[in-house]
């Protein structure tokens, strides 16, 4: 059984969403051992490390800078894709504290947003990157 359905139906963890089931939308993205994973594709028996979902992203119960930026930029429309978007963006910023437009395009383009919130996703990632660099 894929990790997505164990999280959602067995453990009641609803942040990762079902959108396509075939690794085409990114709505189900979680972190396993710190790396972004499409949980609809990962059999639960193959989970190799700790699993983190959006509500566990911020350190010590605080919001992650990406979440703060997502709120300030009012990114979400229906919001259904946003848990996956933020988890994907968190991985980008962990690897690259100062991403260019091209870096953001490359990292984020497999995450679908049917509402078209893309311009604000871009802006929020840049704002979060700036605030994380400022805070170091």
């Amino acid at each position: 059984m894929p990790l997505l359905w164990v999280l959602r139906d067995e453990l009641g963890i609803k942040e990762p969403k079902y959108g396509c089931g075939i690794a085409q939308c990114g709505a189900c993205t979680v972190h396993v051992g710190g790396s972004p994973v499409r949980s609809c594709q990962l059999p639960v028996g193959s989970v190799w490390s700790d699993v983190k979902t959006l509500s566990g992203l911020g350190a010590g119960g605080a919001l992650h800078p990406l979440q703060t930026a997502w709120i300030e930029h009012q990114v979400a429309q229906c919001g259904y894709c946003q848990s996956g978007q933020i988890m994907q963006a968190a991985d980008l910023l962990a690897r690259n504290p100062n991403p260019s437009d091209a870096d953001i395009d490359a990292a984020m383009s497999a995450n679908l947003c049917r509402c078209g919130a893309y311009p604000r996703i871009r802006a929020a990632i840049k704002a979060a990157a700036a605030s994380m660099r400022g805070g170091e």
Partner: protein, 761 residues
């Protein structure tokens, strides 16, 4: 939820009954304010009884059908569904602005389906008149259609109509509640109401003392509600019109937001559906022996169009549904896209003429002997494919049905649930939940009907039926395919004749037929976005041809206009090119409506318009649409790169009358444009064997982030009427992109999706 306990000891207390009577009187009285009494049809137009009164306990006040105040809290009833367009937050802010309260401190409840929450605007918007026509007949018939909507109790969210329909009602509700609370406070302390102020959920006395609204609930329930209130003018708004935080934004940024698909109930079961990939027919035989062996499977159920499997989790239900061995019946429509297009082409015949709502000058004479420009355009079937697959959770009990789902048509669901199970409508409880997108799909309730069928097979147990993405794609009610044949002529550097024949199945007949009743008269959706444009072309005709339905179709973000605007503007662009004049200047010359002219002028200023030529390997396109009561002009810049065409920048100017929520308005403009651009670039449903070949997002992408251009938007507020922004910016996106591609490459694109003909980076 602010459910206050209905203490039986207090229920007989005489006090509790009295205010109910006076509330009803108020509601009838206020109908004259909100509804407008016309045609002597008072019994129809009067506001129906306040549904909040039915469950009101003693000491609770439901001053209007939109505001409920108890000792423990305040609830706003926000009846329009939020399918991602932010209308939940806007509705709350409209009430709160007049009530002087932070909407974040209030409980928001979509309410139960009820005639009082009907959407009158949507019905009147679908009439065969130019939207700018305020003559007597159009006005009268619009009023009549609003009356019909009230009678049929059509409570629904769509057509970008929510703001237009509700903005005065909700502000009026807030003002009435505020003034009634002041009267209650004045009565309790024996001072004039005029000396009181309100702020932050409290009544403020002249000496600075304050009393919370909730503390006044019991008193307010006993005073005659104040209905004669004036709405505050925009200059006095404190929050509306400014940048404020959308109410659901924190939940949606932290993962706390729950959608229909997230519902979890004790002892719940999970179902998946395996329906005939063809539409309208079911199975001949099936073998479920393998499916029933799968661990966790409880039962296989026959439902409309196919089968469902009930299991102990969604994944197992999906797998078991896929393991069913079924022989499907054959639908009675053409099997392939090729055959379907032939049906559409064949429908272009005199006897299929459905409307000719634009017929200015003498087109036949103008084209006779002229150098005729002609072209044919096509728009494909398109899926909605909202990111949250359709789902509904249902609990069927002996005398009660409870439904949890995201919908735009709550009354239709209540009626269906009652009819299917035999319980009274009053014994259907519907919890309307946030939706992970809709784009018009949730104007149908087939997925809920199916979920009720499933739940009826396991009475007493709640069942969540979730469609797989594949089921969602196969069983969409897609945007209809649509084509146009156009002819026109130019003379002396001017467009002088334009004759557009637009051909499509009737969306009104298909959708209204499924959900309500088929409206009489021509289907304006066949021609919407083409016949109703404010151009004064001397010889100008738009004829609608009704084609056979082929497959059942549905409303898709800016129905009618999403295809017709492409045909109309793309053809106008060809005529303007033939005339050898500037596309912006010629449009301005042809348009006299000042609101429409202003958005064209604005977009020109924003992009420093200087014609379509912006340098080698680049091109600039423009299009205009009067769509869903909003004039919108868009300019698109593209560059030819070695990996294909790249969209660099998009400028949008629109006029929606009043901007209540500027942050959300901007998101709707850009979101609608991305919707229009992305589908024009790369989306279509093509049929083989009676079903779409596109089964998931790998074959139906829309715009991705790396393709997203820079957006520059401007909202004007000079239009005479308030209109919503969920849809208008979709219409001009495709023709503006086609125009830019022509400017950059010299290639005319007359058929969507464009990636059939050009590559995109």
């Amino acid at each position: 939820m602010n459910e206050v306990s209905k203490d039986p000891k207090k229920a007989n207390n005489g006090k509790a009954d009295k205010p109910k009577v006076s509330r009803r009187k108020f509601l009838i009285g206020s109908a004259a304010v909100a509804g407008g009494v016309a045609f002597g049809a008072y019994f129809i137009l009067r506001t129906p009884a306040n549904p909040l009164l039915r469950d009101l306990g003693p000491g609770e006040a439901a001053i209007t059908p939109f505001v409920k105040i108890t000792e423990t809290g305040i609830t706003f009833i926000v009846p329009r569904a939020d399918v991602g367009q932010g209308i939940l937050s806007t509705q709350a802010h409209l009430i709160a602005e007049e009530l002087d309260i932070d909407p974040g401190t209030v409980t928001l409840d979509p309410g139960q389906p009820h005639p009082i929450y009907v959407n009158a605007k949507i019905a009147s918007n679908s009439l065969p008149f130019q939207p700018l026509d305020e003559g007597f007949v159009p006005r009268t018939v619009r009023d009549l259609m609003e009356t019909v909507a009230r009678v049929s109790g059509a409570q629904f969210t769509g057509g970008s109509s929510s703001v237009a329909d509700l903005h005065e009602k909700l502000r009026h509700a807030g003002a009435a509640a505020r003034e009634t609370l002041k009267t209650a406070a004045a009565g309790r302390y024996g001072i004039p109401a005029a000396s009181l102020a309100t702020e932050n959920g409290e009544v403020v006395f002249p000496d600075g003392r304050r009393i919370a609204y909730t503390e006044l609930a019991a008193d307010a329930a006993l005073v005659e509600p104040v209905t004669d209130v004036e709405l505050r003018p925009p200059e006095r708004w404190r929050k509306l019109g400014t940048v404020f935080q959308r109410i659901d934004i924190v939940a949606k940024s932290t993962g706390a937001q729950r959608y229909g698909i997230d519902i979890e109930l004790p002892d719940m079961l999970y179902a998946a559906v395996r329906a005939n990939p063809g539409r309208g027919v079911s199975f001949d035989r099936y073998d479920d022996s393998v499916a029933r062996e799968i661990r966790g499977v409880h039962v296989v159920v026959e439902v409309t169009d196919g089968l469902a499997v009930v299991a102990d989790n969604t994944w197992r239900a999906f797998r078991a549904a896929a393991a069913l061995d079924v022989d499907w019946q054959t639908p009675d429509y053409p099997a392939s896209s090729e055959e379907m297009w032939r049906v559409l082409e064949d429908a272009h015949r005199e006897d299929n003429i459905d409307s000719r709502l634009r017929d200015d000058g003498d087109v036949d004479e103008a084209l006779d002997g002229a150098d005729v420009v002609s072209a044919e355009y096509r728009a494909p079937f398109l899926a909605h494919a909202a990111l949250e697959p359709l789902n509904a959770t249902v609990l069927v009990e002996p005398d009660h049905v409870t439904v949890w789902t995201a919908t735009q048509v709550p009354t239709a669901i209540r009626d269906a649930a009652a009819e299917m199970t035999g319980v009274g409508k009053e014994n259907v409880t519907l919890h309307v939940l946030p939706a992970g997108g809709s784009f018009g799909r949730r104007l149908d309730h087939d997925y809920v009907v199916q979920a009720i069928e499933v739940a009826m097979s396991v009475p007493g147990t709640p069942v969540k039926t979730t469609w797989s993405r594949e089921a969602d794609m196969a069983h969409d009610f897609p945007r209809p395919f649509h084509m146009a044949r156009a002819r026109g002529a130019v003379s002396g550097g001017r467009v002088v004749a334009c004759d557009i024949d637009t051909i499509s199945p009737s969306l009104s007949a298909s959708w209204f037929g499924r959900v309500f009743i088929v409206p009489p008269g021509p289907d304006t959706l066949i021609v919407w976005g083409a016949y109703d444009q404010p151009y004064a072309i001397p010889h100008y005709r738009v004829t609608g041809y009704k084609a056979p339905e082929v497959v059942p179709i549905g409303s898709w973000r800016s129905p009618g206009a999403c295809s017709n605007s492409f045909f109309h503007e793309a053809f106008l662009s060809e005529l303007i090119a033939a005339a050898g004049v500037d596309p912006l200047e010629e449009r301005l010359r042809l348009i006299s409506d000042p609101t429409s002219r202003r958005v064209l002028e604005a977009v020109g200023e924003m992009c420093s318009w200087n014609g379509p030529d912006i340098g080698a390997g680049r091109g600039r396109g423009i299009a205009f649409a009067h769509s869903h009561h909003v004039p919108v002009a868009e300019v698109v810049d593209v560059t030819v790169t070695d990996r294909g065409l790249r969209i660099d920048d998009v400028w949008i100017a629109a006029d929606c009358g009043t901007v209540f929520d500027p942050v959300n308005a901007e998101a709707q403009l850009t979101g609608a444009a991305i919707w229009g651009l992305g589908h024009a670039m790369n989306c279509e449903l093509t049929y083989e064997n009676y079903a779409p070949l596109q089964t998931n997002y790998h074959a139906f992408q829309g715009m991705r982030l790396y393709q997203t251009p820079r957006f520059h938007t401007k909202l004007l507020e000079q239009a005479p009427a308030v209109a919503g922004l969920g849809e208008p910016a979709t219409a001009p996106a495709a023709p503006a992109l086609a125009d830019a591609i022509f400017a950059a490459t010299g290639q005319r694109l007359r058929e969507m999706p464009f990636n059939r003909f050009v590559d995109f980076a």
